[in-house]
Symmetry: D2
Subunit: 287 residues, 4 copies
Amino acid sequence: MCRWMAWLGQPVLIEELLFKSPHGIVDQSLHARMGAEPTNGDGFGLGWYGTGEGPGVYRSVSPAWGDPNLHELAAHVESPLFMTHVRAAIGSPVQETNCHPFRRGNWLFVHNGFIADFHLLRRDLMLAIAPDLFADVQGSTDTEVVFHLALTSGLEEDPIGALERTVGLIEETARRHGVTDAVQASFGVSDGESLWAVRYATNGDARSLFASSDADAIRHLYPDNPRFQRLTEDDRLIVSEPFSDLPGVWHEIPEATAAIVRRGGVLEKQPFQPTTDAGLTAGADAT
Amino acid sequence: MCRWMAWLGQPVLIEELLFKSPHGIVDQSLHARMGAEPTNGDGFGLGWYGTGEGPGVYRSVSPAWGDPNLHELAAHVESPLFMTHVRAAIGSPVQETNCHPFRRGNWLFVHNGFIADFHLLRRDLMLAIAPDLFADVQGSTDTEVVFHLALTSGLEEDPIGALERTVGLIEETARRHGVTDAVQASFGVSDGESLWAVRYATNGDARSLFASSDADAIRHLYPDNPRFQRLTEDDRLIVSEPFSDLPGVWHEIPEATAAIVRRGGVLEKQPFQPTTDAGLTAGADAT
Amino acid sequence: MCRWMAWLGQPVLIEELLFKSPHGIVDQSLHARMGAEPTNGDGFGLGWYGTGEGPGVYRSVSPAWGDPNLHELAAHVESPLFMTHVRAAIGSPVQETNCHPFRRGNWLFVHNGFIADFHLLRRDLMLAIAPDLFADVQGSTDTEVVFHLALTSGLEEDPIGALERTVGLIEETARRHGVTDAVQASFGVSDGESLWAVRYATNGDARSLFASSDADAIRHLYPDNPRFQRLTEDDRLIVSEPFSDLPGVWHEIPEATAAIVRRGGVLEKQPFQPTTDAGLTAGADAT
Amino acid sequence: MCRWMAWLGQPVLIEELLFKSPHGIVDQSLHARMGAEPTNGDGFGLGWYGTGEGPGVYRSVSPAWGDPNLHELAAHVESPLFMTHVRAAIGSPVQETNCHPFRRGNWLFVHNGFIADFHLLRRDLMLAIAPDLFADVQGSTDTEVVFHLALTSGLEEDPIGALERTVGLIEETARRHGVTDAVQASFGVSDGESLWAVRYATNGDARSLFASSDADAIRHLYPDNPRFQRLTEDDRLIVSEPFSDLPGVWHEIPEATAAIVRRGGVLEKQPFQPTTDAGLTAGADAT
């Protein structure tokens, strides 16, 4: 199981959320806090918007907790919008090109979950990627294929719709191969302006996903952090697992739901409904 | 440009050839000895047969010259048959899954050279890989695709024939895309018993390839090495570039030629003729 | 907390003990099996005797569970005597020169535990290292200093005596600096012929240490492993934590005790008594 | 031989100087441009001032040219003052704690050159480090010891004086051990406000060191770079080797000279005269 978090709000030093938050994502990656979770020591990624063109991406196969370069970067880069991901590999190699977030142009993509029996489905799914995008798949994860299917399906125009078409296609392809419970996911997407987060599983029992409820709640979460005492209603956190035990701070995103965070702290929700009636067709030559 | 070498003969400590030979492959990887060659500092691989099941493979993105683990392994592992490769990346990421040799079962594969405009051809070539092998492609190099095409085309039964069919397919696919001079290659293949080496370029001007001429020559090559003074006619080296300036020691393998080394020091040669009349068809849905 | 294990017996493929044993050391390094233990993801080391001159040492800052090169090496190297160590860093950097085992000539050294307030004591302790050994300290761990103090103190002639003098010196130095509970340790030492293992803590509550009780017990431990069914009385395992829950298989080494394993499965024990009456004097110029 | 460069001026994206300058430092690290120079593929470091507290430091053992994280960081971090260093290891391990720049508080330190027979002198020199700084030496390079000697000797109050005392001490220690030509160096130092650069060798034949002559020259150096066309007299580059062949752009810093660059583009020079008459005494117990 992987974990991820995303921030959209006022510019913050990345370390405030990465290393200085109690039960933050790096802390989670090291300690099995709630019992059953394994360690997330198979790679780390950070994508951030700010200075320079498009997002920067730092990916490492070192565990996040012990990577001095990540500590340095987090302590010296400020960003109004960033996403981080810690990985627990299930099958595919521990290599930087398998670390999230994945990027294309201004877009970043992270995923907690998996495609069931991906080994069986990989070829058909890769065939459904737009031919001019095919050669850009650099690693061997299911997530990178999902991202390129979503790009093929119009992610840049309609992120939620593209993911609904992508998940629909995967479920259909899985069905054809006799694979059940095809998709288990929380997805995170950004273009540098907004954040989209999806919670969905084919079998209806999806990985958790939470949004910070409001700025006032975050001020309570970090009472000793002067920066957070200056929080406004513009600031939002999305996390695959809550950082803290404070009740009332986290707002659970329901199953089969997409959440959209826009500047100004706006949080909207809509149903997430995979669809197979359009666009993408997987592995035409394999039918 | 990459470089590779292979040994088939009596068991030797790997370091004898890797680190203790004048102008050996690691030395070549660091110093631009003949002028125009760039540094080979983008990864290293060693595949060896000996103890355990099938070949062992050590791959690292550290430059070979500074990797302490490689020095240790080479100093403490003996092998009668091994292949090493140093990489100078051209385009694809510096990651372990892009380092040669590639392996399947008992088979190892290395390549010095490239497929022209691979980015354009990658999808069609991957479609020509046998569907049940497709998901085993872990990295993003042209070489790993060539290896899986050759496996699809019968490498395990007829190594040279399979490579002739593979190169034929690549050339035909390139032609369809308007890509000229498609293949530039010296290939090395082994199953743990024999070694196959191919020198071929579409445009007739292939990367160099040499075989050690005979045991007597090698004894002259290492006059101070007691181990090599015990060399017999059973021992052969194949190298993409000669280790030494001693005249008479190296035997150049001609253009468009396959060399086969068998136990007992047997060296046979045959023409290498790409063919398109059988088996493989690339990217049928893309025609 | 680190963990280590050592094998002395018939030659075995290293992977048999490293990756194929239930609750083996790599498995331990990933999962917090007994509750409070953190993850050991801050580096790994393997030292083995066999082919080549002296021991080979493989050290990596990747977590052991995800390092493909370690899997390859373990599957293709056989050894009659080896030691492995997984690290959970406490303060000093995650770098290869901080990974155990440490080596000098034929000697290997591993340590689970720590020197209290090492930052305060480091200078005085390094001053007590023999001047001609001083420059060989490459990393920044307490263990590497302990090893060089033991070498200074005669490790190669009398391993247990040298460690008693070393621990005595550390305790005395600590006392001078007002540091209590100076040493917490299980040490492992080998010269390629025998194994020495020490369990000791200044405060009398030392890290655990176990020896396999006898070959018959090991045969019960691995009922489905044909290799272990061939075990003889010559084979012994020393582990910082037991691999398995089978009662009767592991023999606990008492507090303040040194165990010596010799070829033929011989296991001897003797009290471990730190001494300050000889040889070493720390940081004379600092008194 | 290592190489380094430093920038003090208006904030620039680090990649402008690191990757986008013809014959820049990364390009130098890969290609042997002027003939005899070896490859600098044994690690890289970047220290930069800007956002966050004190300088950030990124260090990697990957060659600079192939490290994707370095490309990302350089493309997304802007800094008015930074130093970079590429390493060609001579003896000490390739590890991150051996990569320059070294840091303490606000201070950064880089070095091109070496201390002769450092193995012989290391102990005495480390004994001359202030006891409370001793435990902060994390790696095994001569440079880290030089830096801590300079800190001991007052670097933070008088950088040039402290380096004069440090070099004097090293030369004296070397003399005592019968080591000649003790110091070969160009040093770079910064506190985030100013830059100090020293060119000195005991034998009078020091590594090269250059300053950009003035903003007008830099504008000529990068005629197609709109950012540099906006250069003012405030901008200065210090480099161990010139980036370009344009005559008139680079100003050589003479032997045995210290250069000081202050905000506003001010460049001052003064003689660099090692001195032994004060403060530091090396290895008192070893005399």
